[in-house]
Subunit: 430 residues, 2 copies
């Protein structure tokens, strides 16, 4: 049975509001010398429009779970390839039974068919073979009658009622017909898709290469996580966060280490990474200065599209490009970094993998607190979910434990009335 | 800030109805010589109660995403470990400003603190230091006043209004206090948790070993996926499906190959696998016989708890145990196998990993068709989701393409009124 491709493209996964987004306006970086601040959906459009797809590679199908197809898959043969019984019974010729109600229909049992290769290749009028679920119908047979609908005496089978053609069988091309489209380019493979590919004999598939993401952390106060910080120092956290996030999203993270606020060192490292990676993520320290350094370096080496996204409180996100390599400068606080990862960077990774769509899990759930709106910009507030209720999590941006204390995020549109206790709100799950 | 552990145990992820389920009744296999058929929740209880937890191993934290902690994690030190500015401004002593509204409060700027190690270790009354976001407050300082709230002239700073203690700072133990519980045993690590562990210096963690799952396929008609089937043969699909599913769920699949309906060969292979694996999954061919063979072999080698689950149409699922190794016999049709994987086997894997809870994504969504209930048993119907509507997918159990055509599943409780077009139903997403 052919599967309509349009279904795949639009429907079978949750498309979020940014899916298939195309740049509707001129990119911020092109329209103005001041990159300024853009709304979230514009930031996503920028990322999706300048990210390039990675190359392709052919890999074994059983290692392709989670990968994105870079070829369309068609059935090379009819599947199952023969008429197949779906129940235990007797394979017969339906027309033999046409008068079964008015006069007795007696067939001769000429043998039995188990699954696998069969010894009985042809059935002639007046004959029947006993057949096992999964067994191949002999040529000539066109239906299967169940034992309950017959009287069996030795090799004589009396069929009680007429049996239409096609009962209790799967036809030779009922699963897939030769040439049927099975999956389109861009499809993200799931375990059940691996099974479908195995069923049509596709043991290798062409997929997008995993994007290689360079990861740089900046911050004068940062020491590696394995160090014991001296007073005034803190452990570097963002490279761990970005690495685990990229891995989970099917990318290959490459750590370039920690830069302690030196613009020249950062320039050299970003230049090197831009030769070796498909995209670069720089997470700034916690201060304005450092973020500005990242933006300056990107500006020097390439082009800056925007220096901020207008969602409170994590505005400072630089989006730029060096040659064809997209560079994102994230805010330094890990909880802010995580928010930008889940709202923006995920689109970068999806776009590079050539996925037109992306599963985003959302749930409508009752709010335990009031959430006011901002007049200027959309607010994105973390929530925890307990007993099917969403509780906003507020806290200073610099606190790390907030990371583990939220399950998702609620959007409060700019200029709206906000939400009140008891409202059902849509939560995007991390 | 300590995180209440109870929150983790019950609330922060979707607990489905089976979470924390314990066997309430005597296990079926113990109460009767006929294992018979049990409802789904009883099958899950059986699986959860006889599955044993895998052993533990210590691994680098940055490879621990998705793994289950087998130790409780506590903060070994205060984090951040020093009072830290969250804004650029001036670190001062709040009591100096107590009378700032009635008479002018003039402080002497004695230097500046950037992030990282600081040269100014102590602040005395009447003094101020300029401080950068993330910078360490000198001893004595207890608050940060923003530049906007001061008048700065050379090294003289006039503070306009009284500043309470604790403004624009994170206290030394505000993120975590030494000894605070951070994560309990059984917690499934996510990227954000990896970041939190890095922040407290835990670069290695003790986690449950990945369960090793032996996979056996039986069926006289089956040939390996790389073969070109002769007429009457079909490609083996279930081992691909079970392998990809186990990998995605954090288990290590081990394929033991295809058995062509030979009870002795199956006995030998299950015996071997029970020595080498933590659990075994046998997927039967499509006929009743083969399923019976699996059940018989398990019975001979160990104990059978049930031979069926009462959810139409995929009843034939054997749950048994050989020594301490749980053995599940799945139905042969891949679409039926997939349903049992997502409804039953997932609990086996979670239980072996020692996870008390499990994220299950659910969504309330409008139905495009009527779904009637069965009187005897709960029905579980696949649906596709398009344009935020759920459309039931019906089809013969033997068809493989149904695998790729559904996004989730709807439960219709036994004896209920069923659902009608337009009803909002809860869909469990694959």
């Amino acid at each position: 049975m052919p599967i309509p491709w349009t279904m795949y493209q639009t429907g079978t996964r949750w498309a979020d509001q940014f899916l298939l987004a195309k740049p509707e306006k001129q990119l911020a970086g092109e329209s103005s010398s001041d990159p300024g601040t853009v709304p979230l959906d514009e930031a996503v459009r920028i990322v999706r429009s300048i990210a390039y797809k990675t190359g392709t590679e052919t890999i074994p199908t059983d290692e392709a779970d989670g990968r994105t197809l870079s070829e369309s898959i068609y059935a090379l043969n009819d599947i199952p390839g023969f008429d197949r019984a779906t129940m235990d019974g007797f394979a017969i010729i339906s027309s033999d039974t046409a008068d079964a109600t008015s006069r007795s229909c007696i067939l001769t049992l000429i043998g039995s068919v188990r699954k696998g290769l069969s010894s009985i290749s042809h059935l002639y009028p007046g004959q029947a073979v006993s057949i096992q679920t999964g067994g191949k119908l002999p040529e000539g047979a066109d239906t299967v009658v169940l034992a309950d609908d017959c009287v069996v005496q030795g090799d004589r089978i009396t069929v009680k009622n007429p049996v239409p053609p096609g009962c209790n069988i799967i036809r030779r091309d009922e699963d897939f017909r030769k040439g049927d489209p099975v999956y389109p380019t861009g499809w993200i493979l799931r375990p059940q898709d691996i099974a479908v590919l195995a069923s049509i004999g596709r043991i290798r598939v062409k997929v997008r290469k995993k994007p290689v993401i360079g990861i740089i952390s900046t911050g004068r106060e940062l020491v590696p996580s394995e160090s014991i910080p001296k007073s005034g120092e803190v452990r570097e956290v963002n490279s761990y966060l970005v690495t685990a996030f990229c891995k989970r999203q099917g990318a290959i993270p490459v750590r370039y280490g920690i830069i302690r606020d030196d613009a020249e060192e950062l320039t050299n490292l970003i230049e090197q990474a831009s030769q070796e990676c498909d995209a670069i993520i720089v997470s700034g320290g916690s201060s304005r200065d450092e973020h500005d350094i990242t933006a300056q370096v990107i500006h020097k080496l390439g082009k800056v599209y925007t220096e901020g996204i207008s969602f409170a409180p994590e505005k400072r996100t630089t989006i730029g490009q060096i040659d064809s390599v997209l560079v994102i400068g994230l805010p330094g606080h890990p909880s802010a970094t995580f928010m930008v990862l889940t709202l923006v960077v995920i689109h970068l990774l999806q776009a590079m993998k050539g996925s037109p769509n992306q599963p985003v899990y959302r749930k409508f759930i009752r709010l335990t607190d009031n959430l006011h709106a901002s007049r200027e910009s959309d607010r994105y507030i973390r929530v925890t979910i307990t007993d099917d209720q969403a509780t906003p999590v507020f806290g200073k941006a610099g606190l790390i434990h907030m990371l583990s204390q939220s399950d998702g995020i609620v959007k409060i549109p700019a200029g709206s009335k906000g939400f009140s206790i008891g409202d059902r709100v849509e939560v995007m799950i991390w």
